[in-house]
């Protein structure tokens, strides 16, 4: 347990460094006063508003205030919407989570059968096709796959809606787009992990006992393959969230990604900061969970 306490404590400097990186970027971006005031504002007006917002303080004072505010749950106010930035992010969070979870499900549904199949029939044509598909999935840009899916299933055949969120049908294309990208990496991992497990002595024992191949593969081998699979799902959070950012744009999915890209274009830095902090925190927590699950699922692993 000591190890996890240490890991949890390590989050604090990491989060502090992230706030520093983000704040420095926002500081360089310059103050938003010019955007807030009408075009004919005088220099005095600008200076007055800067002073009122504390934007004329030195860097370290502003950074200190920023961290203190954040500790009290205040991530600033969006200049565009005039609302609490974190609240806006939380409003969009369910949509992004929905897409992310659906994509993981799609990835699991593709990767587990494909990975097991290609491992048990190593070097067969099935294996070649599966490995080939995995490489292709990695090589195809996600947003292009999304556009091609729209072209085929929405524009040409009108089976699924082009964009937006609402019904289950809206979810299918974005989830496939994002899910196949993750499935590519997952298939490769399950395959190599299965191959390793299948070479173990206990598998040979099970086989020599005369157990059916199906039982050996699923009961003995696959269960042990789950450890790396669970870990990779958690460790891919960063890739997954990166993917949602762009998939949301392609499908006009009203999640954090869309909010963030609009905010970057509008220089609405409060929202940008809030988005980055939420995403980073999420990634860190998922990595911790991955560590924890890894140990829970495989008792041989003990961290010092």
């Amino acid at each position: 347990m000591n190890y996890f306490l240490k890991r949890i404590l390590e989050i604090i400097p990491v989060l502090l460094i992230i706030t520093f990186i983000v704040f420095t970027l926002v500081f360089i971006a310059g103050d938003p006063v010019a955007l807030l005031l009408p075009e004919d504002a005088t220099t005095e007006d600008i200076a007055a508003l800067q002073a009122a917002l504390g934007l004329d303080d030195p860097f370290y004072v502003q950074y200190g205030r920023y961290v203190m505010n954040m500790l009290q749950g205040d991530f600033g106010t969006s200049f565009r919407y005039g609302e609490d930035a974190m609240l806006l992010v939380f409003e969009r969070l369910p949509a992004t989570l929905e897409l992310a979870i659906a994509s993981i499900l799609v990835a699991i549904m593709i990767a587990i059968p494909l990975g097991i199949w290609s491992a048990t029939k190593k070097n067969s044509s099935i294996d070649l096709v599966a490995t080939g598909a995995a490489v292709l999935g990695k090589a195809m840009p996600n947003f292009w796959l999304g556009i091609m899916l729209i072209l085929i299933f929405s524009v040409t055949y009108s089976i699924f809606p082009v964009s937006g969120r609402g019904s289950f049908a809206h979810l299918i294309l974005p989830a496939i787009t994002l899910g196949t990208g993750i499935a590519a990496e997952m298939t490769r991992l399950i395959r190599s992990s299965m191959l390793e497990t299948l070479g173990q002595d206990y598998i040979r024992t099970a086989k020599s006992k005369g157990l059916r191949t199906g039982i050996v593969v699923y009961k003995h081998a696959f269960r042990n393959t789950l450890v790396p699979v669970v870990t990779i799902i958690a460790l891919q959070t960063s890739t997954l969230i990166g993917g949602t950012l762009i998939t949301e744009t392609v499908f006009a999915w009203p999640g954090i990604g869309q909010l963030l890209i609009q905010a970057v274009n509008n220089r609405d830095m409060a929202i940008v900061q809030a988005c980055v902090m939420v995403i980073a925190f999420f990634v860190i927590v998922m990595n911790l969970i991955a560590d924890f699950l890894y140990q829970l699922l495989d008792p041989r692993i003990r961290y010092k």
Binding site: L136, M148, V283
Partner: protein
């Protein structure tokens, strides 16, 4: 029985090259990868001579012309034209320049930062190591594309910023790999021997450690040129990367996205170009891993 080798420098080098080529042609995917990558490099270098048209010349009479094999298409524009009558093939040919330029130079930049950080933190350890590894953890907690988006939003889009931003966001993976290698190599006898006879730290790092870690860098770097090309096209697609009149595969795609219903070829071909290029680099990278890293198992 093998003959004892008495070959001198150049001859031995030659045989090494031969051995590599032999290994390359034994791997079908490696050969395909090399052919694709060399072709793309040639296309990028000779773009002005290979492209049938100027990439930005507008032709209001010939807008939305389909590819040559479809009705209404002709040999003048093999892959058709876009909403402004620009030749898609020429735009894709010119786009290869941006993809390779951004892909390679940002990986080199990230590599320089990553190798230096990895070598020094791995060798010296201590506070420096702790600091940089926490910094690396922080970078890893922010998805690459997110950090790149924010930085491009702050510094403004464009070719130069894009290379810089992608370089700065990608150094972490190299630093961690190189550091890991250094940690194990610095305990080996030849490094200890060098230390014990008083070789300067700087010389140990650059003459003993660096040559031993560079091959793992090359493997990872090759593969990450591929992912950087995808990242570049994604950012350009979002409008925060390459700006017109420069042509990127991502921007051609984003232009074509609005005309899916009428002109499918606008969004299809640049995506194919990205996929083929990235596939070639992945194949080449996998082959490099096989020959450079003896520990990798097929």
């Amino acid at each position: 029985m093998p003959q004892p080798s008495i070959m001198q420098g150049p001859a031995r080098k030659n045989s090494k090259l031969k051995r590599w080529l032999k290994l390359l042609f034994r791997s079908k995917t490696g050969t395909v990868g090399l052919v694709i990558v060399i072709s793309i490099v040639i296309i990028a270098i000779f773009a002005p001579w290979l492209a049938p048209h100027e990439p930005n010349v507008i032709d209001p009479v010939n807008t939305h012309k389909p590819p040559v094999w479809m009705e209404g298409g002709d040999r003048e524009n093999l892959l058709g034209t876009d909403n402004l009558g620009r030749d898609i093939l020429s735009r894709i040919i010119y786009g290869s320049q941006i993809s390779l330029l951004v892909g390679i130079s940002s990986v080199v930049l990230a590599g320089i930062i990553g190798i230096l950080v990895g070598l020094f933190t791995g060798y010296f350890g201590g506070f420096l190591d702790t600091f940089f590894m926490r910094l690396a953890d922080s970078f890893l907690a922010i998805p690459n594309i997110l950090l790149a988006l924010v930085m491009l939003g702050v510094f403004g889009p464009g070719l130069f910023t894009l290379i810089l931003v992608l370089g700065v966001t990608n150094w972490v993976q190299y630093a961690r790999i190189i550091r890991g290698e250094v940690l194990s190599i610095k305990e080996r006898d030849f490094v200890r021997a060098a230390k014990s006879i008083g070789v300067k730290h700087r010389n140990i790092i650059f003459s003993h450690l660096y040559p031993n870690v560079i091959s793992s860098f090359i493997v990872v770097a090759t593969l990450s040129v591929a992912s950087t090309i995808i990242l570049e096209s994604s950012l350009s697609f979002l409008g925060l990367g390459i700006q017109p009149p420069q042509v990127s595969w991502g921007t051609i795609l984003s232009d074509g996205r609005d005309y899916l219903a009428t002109s499918w070829w606008l969004a299809t071909f640049p995506g194919l170009a990205i996929t083929i290029t990235v596939l070639g680099i992945i194949f080449l990278g996998d082959w490099l891993r096989d020959i450079l890293d003896p520990r990798s198992v097929k």
